[in-house]
């Protein structure tokens, strides 16, 4: 049986979701997307610059048949703002997925838990496929699942920080909490391939990242590194790692030594 990622009614082969911000060059970005083999790409919804409407736009040069779009509600600070953005995104006719993001603090960009839960409830009722960005709080994750979220997306560390998994212990609680119900997608703060592999080894179903690739010295090579880290971490998780021991445990026989 294929090891696929299921989110609501969607099914994906890739477990790497890629954000599309902060790339300095659209050609490099396309190459990075290709190298990542990501099938889900995130976007933000913003006002069009009506004085300069022909600014290059990454979405409009994508082969939209190849990708599932995951617009986010970035910029929303209340549930109502998030719902408004989600409705606009859906009205494009391009997608019914939404990444709920209700920010509670502009310095840390940590999510507002109350607004996040409320927006999730509202958007689930409206029929969206809802993926919710949340803090590393297992109890909130439980409430999000009860509210009908189709995926829970705990941050590893602050958005764009590259600090990696600050609280793998609580992330593993969230993974346990959601097991058999909805996928857990580690979202935000991932800085390196090692972070990605660590997240997947913990049992996360997928990772969403952006800055770690867009900001790398070689974004295309880093996109490939992230893809490989996803595969390595996933297989390592499925294979089941050994228990850690305090002292050595020889792997060569200790008997029949020459004297």
């Amino acid at each position: 049986m294929a090891d696929t990622l299921k989110i609501g009614t969607y099914e994906f082969t890739s477990r790497l979701l890629l954000g599309t911000g902060k790339f300095s060059d659209l050609d490099v970005q396309q190459q990075a997307v290709d190298a990542s083999e990501a099938e889900v790409l995130t976007f933000a919804i913003r006002r069009l610059n009506i004085d300069n409407p022909d600014n290059p736009n990454f979405l409009e040069r994508l082969d939209l048949k190849k990708y599932t779009l995951l617009p986010n509600t970035a910029g929303a600070q209340t549930a109502e703002e998030a719902v408004r953005i989600a409705r606009l995104a859906k009205a494009s006719g391009l997608c019914d997925m939404i990444k709920v993001e209700v920010i509670g603090d502009m310095r840390t960009l940590l999510p507002d838990p109350i607004g996040t839960l409320k927006a999730t409830e509202m958007l689930v009722k409206e029929g969206f496929t809802v993926l919710t960005y949340t803090n590393d709080d297992p109890i909130l994750a439980r409430h999000l699942v009860e509210a009908g979220a189709h995926a829970v997306m705990p941050g590893a560390s602050p958005i764009g920080s590259g600090l990696g998994l600050l609280n793998p212990h609580y992330l593993s609680f969230i993974i346990e909490e959601c097991a058999g119900k909805v996928p857990v997608i580690i979202d935000a703060g991932v800085g390196s391939a090692a972070d990605v592999a660590q997240a997947m080894e913990l049992g996360a179903d997928a990772v969403l990242l952006n800055t770690a690739v867009a900001g790398a010295k070689d974004p295309v090579l880093m996109a490939e590194a992230m893809k490989l880290a996803i595969e390595a971490g996933r297989k390592g998780y499925l294979a089941g790692r050994i228990q850690k021991k305090r002292y050595a445990n020889a792997s060569s026989p200790l008997d029949l030594m020459i004297e």
Partner: protein
Amino acid sequence: MKLIINGQERDVAAKTLADVVQSFGLNERIIVIEHNLNIVPRDLYATTDVTEGDKIEIVHFVGGGR
């Protein structure tokens, strides 16, 4: 006629939303329009009248993520 488009007051010769889209050269673009806080499907642009002072948001998908 004065319309508030993306928060800016603009003088636009337009009777309908389709005229607004045309006047900014957006016919071929992937956009979504909110007219006085109501989302208008693309096939209704031509039959949605605009009047002085209407608030129009024209949005699109931009790079964003993490």
